[in-house]
């Protein structure tokens, strides 16, 4: 079966019969509501097609939108007139996670996305390409393909349409042999891991990125009072992925297939708080420390839940090298999980956070900043500077930048003139005070545009709007972490053998 010619056939079919056959890899504008509840037609890529009785559903990824907005759509939302077929070279989708494969400037202009603009790529060039390769189509081939397309999806995990380009420094993952996690996987520097490296990192190297993990697999999770729509794939037991709702015990996070099961489970589960040591409590906010080795079940359940909202992390390896800090909010029912961050027991790269998540119902209420603050408080106790593990997600970047900005501005603005001299501070000092790694301090100063070169030396300048903005932000700030309420003794994990 010749895949490229098949695409051509479909193209022809589209042209001649107006009978649309949208397959994986096609791009076309798809209707979605924006936050103002207005219609917009961003370009989207079809990742998967499924047939439920009566109709087809298409799993679409909106180009230049985060994956978390990917969704199943009905055919009515597809703008067939602007359908683009996958190019012969099975063009790598933009979202295949190849780092650096597409240079872009962070300061890029915001696209005029609110209009129904189709991003730069129109269908015309594609058509031209296709037409050059047109050969007399045969219906048989088309049928043949149509017949086989589900097979493609299932047997090849959808990778058939987009073989990974052989880029230098990156290789499509080969199934490693049994003992096959050799030096490759140990050393991140050679960049060709056969399995994710076994350091404490939870970073997904994206080598396992395929159609399965690119798609959300859980429809809905019920956790305590909340119903959450997962954002990303999470490796819950496969038989549970077909459920309309996955039920989680709010306290032990056990996954259950039905409300009845949850009810039964609750008669046996007497937890009313995360099963760890409470190391911080102030007001209703508590933090619990959970050892990923000692409390595997909870750690795994937590990871599974968190994976629903974290894109770049993987649960490839066990949780042993991690500590989990779960933030809870107390009410008369118990200590409800709000968010958490995980942390390597020993980090070789100064990471003080591996994964960090505020559960969606609690987002945008300052909890994220509290989590971040807490992670730096731990680093302060340890006497280290730390940085979150990369890559950051969009929300992660915004949250961290916001935290760093506020923390650094706080320090700068509190500096008082020293007997008439202009107050001054080194970057190292900022880093020491805040436990924020030097590089993050610099990037924040840069981002805030505070560093200037004046009369032969670098200076920090505080503009009016920066100061105002900061003061406004601090007013809205939640109660901060109170170091006095922290009961935490860092352990030297290197002396404990293996984690």
């Amino acid at each position: 079966l010749c895949v490229p010619s098949t695409f051509i056939n479909i193209h022809f079919q589209y042209i001649f019969f107006r009978q649309v056959d949208v397959i994986e890899g096609c791009r076309l504008p798809v209707l979605r509501k924006n936050q103002e509840n207005e219609d917009e037609w961003p370009l989207a890529e079809i990742l998967s097609v499924k047939e439920i009785p009566g109709r087809k559903l298409y799993y679409v990824h909106y180009i230049d939108f985060n994956k978390r907005l990917d969704e199943w759509v009905t055919p009515e939302r597809l703008d067939m007139k602007k359908l683009q077929f996958p190019k012969k070279e099975a063009k790598t989708p933009t979202k295949n996670g190849l780092p650096g494969s597409r240079p872009s400037s962070p300061e890029r202009e915001v696209p005029q996305a609110q209009q129904k603009c189709l991003p730069t790529k129109t269908s015309i060039p594609d058509f031209q390409v296709l037409q050059q390769q047109v050969q007399p189509p045969t219906i048989t081939v088309h049928l043949c393909f149509d017949f086989l397309s589900p097979l493609f999806k299932s047997s090849q995990n959808g990778t058939a349409r987009r073989p990974m380009p052989n880029q230098p420094g990156r290789k499509r993952k080969q199934p490693p042999n049994c003992g096959g996690t050799d030096e490759d996987s140990q050393d991140s520097s050679d960049g060709i891991p056969s399995a994710p490296r076994m350091t404490g990192s939870l970073v997904s190297d994206r080598s396992h990125d395929d159609i399965v993990t690119r798609m959300k697999n859980i429809d809905c999770i019920e956790l305590g009072r909340h119903r959450l729509k997962p954002w990303y794939f999470s490796p819950y037991p496969q038989e549970l992925t077909t459920l309309p709702i996955l039920y989680l015990c709010e306290f032990c996070l056990k996954y259950l297939k039905s409300l009845k099961c949850l009810q039964r489970h609750l008669t046996k589960c007497n937890l009313r708080h995360p099963p760890g040591n409470e190391i911080y409590r102030k007001g209703t906010i508590s933090f619990f420390e959970i050892d990923g080795r000692k409390n595997k079940t909870y750690s795994q359940n937590l990871c599974l839940l968190a994976k629903c909202f974290l894109d770049h992390k993987t649960l490839y390896y066990d949780t042993d090298p991690f500590l989990f800090y779960v933030m809870t909010e107390y009410d008369s029912k118990g200590f409800h999980i709000v968010g958490y961050f995980s942390k390597e027991k020993e980090s070789t790269e100064d990471y003080n956070v591996a994964c960090i998540l505020t559960l969606p119902p609690y987002q945008r209420r300052g909890y994220g900043k509290l989590l971040i603050e807490f992670s730096y408080e731990l680093s302060k106790v340890e006497g280290k500077t730390g940085t979150p593990e990369k890559p950051l997600s969009d929300l992660g970047l915004l949250s961290y930048r916001s935290y760093w900005s506020q923390t650094i501005l706080e320090i700068l603005m509190d500096l008082k003139p020293d007997n008439g001299e202009r107050p001054q501070i080194t970057i190292n000092e900022i880093s020491e005070i805040t436990s924020v790694k030097k590089e993050d301090v610099i990037s924040t100063l840069q981002y805030l545009n505070l560093i200037n070169y004046y009369k032969g030396q670098y200076i920090l300048t505080l503009s009016e709007d920066i100061v105002e903005g900061h003061e406004r932000a601090m007013q809205k700030r939640h109660l901060p972490i109170d170091p006095k309420c922290l009961h935490f003794t860092p352990k030297d994990w290197s002396k404990r053998g293996k984690w």
């Binding site: 490796p235 819950y236 099961c261 949850l262 589960c269 599974l304 969009d394 190292n428 505080l462």
Partner: protein, 741 residues
């Protein structure tokens, strides 16, 4: 500022940065362009996503307004927080405790079934509840157990019955229901579980497999460099711990056996007491048939038990005298025997292992002594181990002297079947039994044959000779060393003798000549004093140890050696098929040197000097001849080999101790049997060395392998260099039935 052309210095994190307010610097705008000199830091995001326009919109909104506007946030899928049944679901309230929660390392909660009943199960439950009462938790526990017991295959109904201790009707109902439900189940288990990795690596790409173990390879980077080493250490530690567990297990078994033995012994004593069997007649009647198929467990425990007994007695008797010159005079008859008997009843071991035992015991004795001299390496080498018998045999006295296999040694299997010919003659049973445990033994001073005896090592390295009396004693008495020395050389000069005499019945040896021929024919082991090969320590002793053995009433023998070492002759009386008297001698540690050499030869068998070359000369029968045909041939060959190698007959040690002193060289003899012994050793003439000792032990130990040992006279070998030698004089005049251990 027009100085834009110069290059700004790099930003120095250690350099103080003055802080200005913008209003203080009206001319700041001029220098903005230099800002680029500071390298742009990466955001830490994936490049792909940095361009996502919700993010870009948010970032630009922030940079414009310095604050997020409501509509500028990054949209996320919605979440609802209005579960109405929440309060019904999560019942009860939690009062916040004053203390922070601290979780105990070990789970507090009792084991609850992981399986949670669903509504389908509830229907079944309701149906069942009409007939009997079954609680949900009970049902869940049942299913939980069934699930957990099923791996790839579901448990069968019979297994289920074992698994669940439930009423049959209920069990059947639940089991059938479970089977049906599981067949319809889409997942691999009714308890949804995370997919686990498979060892074959086939799941490495499976997106649903999570939490793989990280154990494949150790992290060796950076600060984790030591991990691999420590990991290996841990592995080793683990192995050793498991070995410890095994050993403890064995100890447990041993101690149990000992207790059993004790009980049986007690029983025997009681029974005998009731029967009035004070003379041991009944016992011997009973044991005689047993002796035909010798049970060699006996000597072992016997020795052990005895050793303690004797020690105790010695202590009492000797009073304050540390080591010197006390006589050990008394032996308790009953006890030691009683140790014997129950053992005889035991047939715990396969016959195969038995024959090796006595030899082994002796060997251990040997080793013990060697240890004193730090000759660890030898002796143990080619120990014919029947491993099965090992653990149990390690009764306490062996403790540190327990046999250990050595790397690079050949351990030959025991050749018990070869001794078969000895047992072909039932009429000889008693004697044979005796003979297989004891050896003919001669002492150097006075030069005489003490009859059948057996050596072992007592505490502190003393060598004890357990003498046994037999009806041959009369004959044996004539066989004192004087006789040997004069008569044997001629007779034994012919290496062919053993084979010629092969057919002679050892047991029927009622005359001296028969006996001699038996000895010659290697059917009887005979230990004689030899010219000594010493240990390397070279400690000279001047005292001439003399042994004075007296057997009083057949019960007591005491031996004394003058000089530095003393020998204790413990009279040990033993009743076997015939009445035995076993004389044991104890060498104390002061006499360690010669004790060592004695022991070396002791376990055994033929002494070095009378070995191959002397076999013929002295008429000492190599035990090998009878018990181990292959070896016997090799021995004799060894003899010839020696001749070939140019040894002069003169160097062959005569039996007489006196003559031995002139020919200390005995080692070559061992060449015959010990493959490990190299011919080169026979050049150690007159120069006793540790190696010679080792060789000796090696040789003897190889002999020890002989499963059924022909009795022989063992002689105490002595320190080299010393003209005087220790002689153990055994007198086996006892005819009184005695039992000793």
């Amino acid at each position: 500022m027009s100085k834009l052309s110069f290059r700004a210095r790099a930003l120095d994190a250690a350099k103080p940065l003055p802080i200005y307010r913008n209003k203080d610097l009206p001319d700041l705008n001029d220098c903005v362009s230099i800002n680029r000199a500071v390298p742009q830091m990466p955001t830490g995001m994936e490049k792909e996503e940095e361009s996502e326009h919700h993010l870009q919109r948010a970032i630009s909104a922030q940079s414009v307004f310095r604050e997020k506007k409501e509509n500028m946030v990054i949209p996320v899928p919605e979440a609802e927080s209005n579960i109405t049944y929440y309060d019904r679901l999560y019942k009860g309230e939690l009062r916040i405790p004053k203390q922070l929660f601290h979780i105990q390392p070990l789970g507090l909660d009792n084991e609850q079934p992981d399986y949670d009943m669903d509504s389908e199960d509830e229907i079944l439950l309701n149906r069942l509840n009409r007939k009997m009462e079954i609680k949900p938790i009970q049902f869940e526990t049942m299913v939980d157990r069934l699930e957990k017991a099923s791996t790839n295959q579901m448990v069968t109904i019979t297994e289920a019955k074992l698994l669940l201790n439930e009423d049959d009707y209920l069990l059947k109902a639940v089991y059938d229901y479970w089977v049906r439900k599981r067949k319809n189940c889409r997942g691999p288990s009714l308890i949804p579980l995370i997919k686990l990795e498979k060892r074959d690596g086939s799941t490495n790409n499976d997106a649903y497999v999570a939490f793989r173990r990280r154990t494949e390879k150790m992290q060796t980077r950076k600060n984790r460099k030591n991990d691999e080493a420590s990991y290996e250490k841990m592995l080793k530690l683990r192995r050793e711990f498991s070995r410890t567990v095994t050993i403890l297990e064995m100890i447990k078994r041993r101690e149990k056996s000992k207790r059993e033995l004790l009980h049986l012994t007690l029983e025997v004593v009681e029974k005998r007491y009731q029967m009035g069997d004070f003379t041991g007649e009944v016992l011997s009647e009973v044991t005689a048939p047993l002796a035909e198929k010798p049970v060699y467990t006996v000597p072992i425990t016997v020795t052990n038990g005895n050793r303690h007994n004797h020690k105790a007695e010695i202590k009492i008797k000797s009073g304050g005298l540390p080591y010197h010159g006390y006589h050990h005079v008394s032996v308790k008859d009953e006890d030691p025997f009683d140790f014997v008997r129950p053992k005889k009843k035991y047939t715990r071991r396969e016959p195969l292992c038995r024959p090796g035992r006595p030899a082994k015991r002796q060997h251990i004795v040997n080793k013990a002594d060697i240890k004193q001299y730090d000759f660890h390496s030898s002796g143990e080498e080619d120990y014919p181990l029947s491993p099965t018998s090992e653990p149990d045999e390690e009764n306490d006295p062996d403790g540190t002297f327990a046999f250990r296999r050595k790397a690079g040694c050949h351990y030959l299997p025991c050749l018990d079947q070869t001794s078969g010919l000895l047992w072909d003659h039932p009429e000889l049973a008693g004697l044979d039994a005796l003979r297989h445990r004891q050896s003919l033994t001669a002492l150097s001073v006075p030069q005489r044959c003490v009859g059948l005896a057996r050596r072992r090592v007592g505490r502190g390295g003393r060598v004890l000779l357990d003498r046994a009396s037999s009806d041959l004693d009369g004959v044996l008495k004539q066989l004192d060393s004087g006789v040997f020395s004069s008569s044997f050389p001629k007779g034994l000069s012919d290496p062919q003798v053993p084979t010629q005499n092969h057919r002679t019945m050892p047991g029927s040896a009622s005359s001296l000549t028969d006996l001699l021929s038996n000895i010659q024919a290697l059917r009887w082991r005979f230990f004689r004093p030899r010219s000594t090969q010493g240990d390397g320590s070279g400690e000279g002793r001047t005292g001439r140890p003399s042994m004075d053995n007296r057997l009083s009433g057949g019960l007591f023998v005491h031996t004394k050696n003058s000089g530095s070492g003393e020998l204790l002759l413990n009279p040990i009386v033993k009743t076997a098929g015939s009445t035995d008297c076993i004389i044991s001698k104890t060498l104390d540690s002061a006499g360690a040197h010669f004790a060592a050499s004695a022991v070396i030869s002791a376990p055994g068998q033929v002494n070095n000097e009378n070995k191959p070359d002397n076999t013929s000369v002295n008429g000492v029968v190599q035990p090998l001849g009878t018990s181990r045909p292959p070896h016997s041939t090799s021995t004799s060959q060894g003899g010839t080999g020696l001749d070939r190698s140019g040894r002069t007959p003169s160097s062959c040690g005569p039996l007489l101790p006196a003559s031995h002193s002139t020919t200390p060289q005995s080692l070559p003899n061992h060449r015959g049997h010990g493959s490990a012994v190299s011919p080169a050793h026979h050049h150690h003439n007159a120069r006793p060395s540790p190696s010679s000792l080792k060789l000796a032990t090696m040789a003897t130990s190889s002999l020890d392998r002989v499963p059924k040992v022909t009795p022989a006279i063992s002689s105490m070998a002595r320190d080299n260099h010393e003209p005087e030698r220790l002689a153990l004089n055994g007198i086996s005049e006892t005819t009184v039935p005695m039992e000793v251990t």
